[in-house]
Amino acid sequence: MNIIINGASQQLTSAKNLSDIVSSFCKHSKHVITELNGSIIPPDQWAQTSLKDGDALELVTFVGGG
């Protein structure tokens, strides 16, 4: 399965839910915000959200800024 994470294509070996993706791609899940195909998915829905081929996922968090 191929999904786009933060603009880059990622090959996943098996179907995964959003919770699995966050834990495998992010060091901490705290303060991670997810947007799947343009819709924000709150953390309490990550486990029930499965991904499919061609999905576009954004993983964002806070950084320094003025």
Binding site: I33, F62, G64, G66
Partner: protein, 262 residues
Amino acid sequence: MTDTPLVIAGKSFTSRFLLGTGKFKNKKDLSDSIESCGSEIVTVALRRIDLERHEENILEYIPPHVTLLTNTSGARNAEEAVRIARLAKASGCGNWVKIEVINDSKYLLPDNQETVKATQILAAEGFVVLPYISPDLYTARALVKAGAATIMPLGSFIGSNQGLKTKELIQVLINEIDLPIVVDAGIGAPSQAAEAMEMGADAVLANTAVATAQNPAALAHAFALAVKAGRIAYLSGLPQKNPMAKASSPLTGFLYDDIPAN
């Protein structure tokens, strides 16, 4: 001298100095600076997580009592600013947002029209909106109508340390707009922050100057003191400048009756 707190969207703050968190060399400098200046509002930004480099999260270095103000940097229009603000809110870290819409990479000037549009949408959704603008009376009036919580006019170009190049235009906003005026951008030295406060600005935000100083925590402290000094000076009824000299000591009744005229 007693002062009233800074009130933004019904929330009271003792400190009138806001600190930006960009460009710090390390996270310790940042946390030391927040502590030394006593800022109660700090700005942060949102970015895609770098999947290759696992960086530490900046929020770990910001004390929990501090109000987070997420900026919409990276937004080139109202739609993108609204998207970033909604993402920030989804984090559960509050609904305070600094609207920053920039589509000019040379001067990094904010797009006032798009900022008004984003403010209308986000204020209607219940966000506390602090729009960053080029100082302009009509834009500021439109932002008041749109439901902004403050107006944040720029002093000079972002990161330029040039101070209050827009002083006269900021003074118009201070005189005419019934919202807190937070002077943002270009404030490169404590003296410039004091100058803004002496004019009657309600607060000042600095980032680059502090973050790039050799000793950021010390400069952050100096900024906080300058903001306080400027505020007290404003409240004291600072006298106006005079075009001519006016003696501080009595000039008559001692050796001469009067200073001889030339």
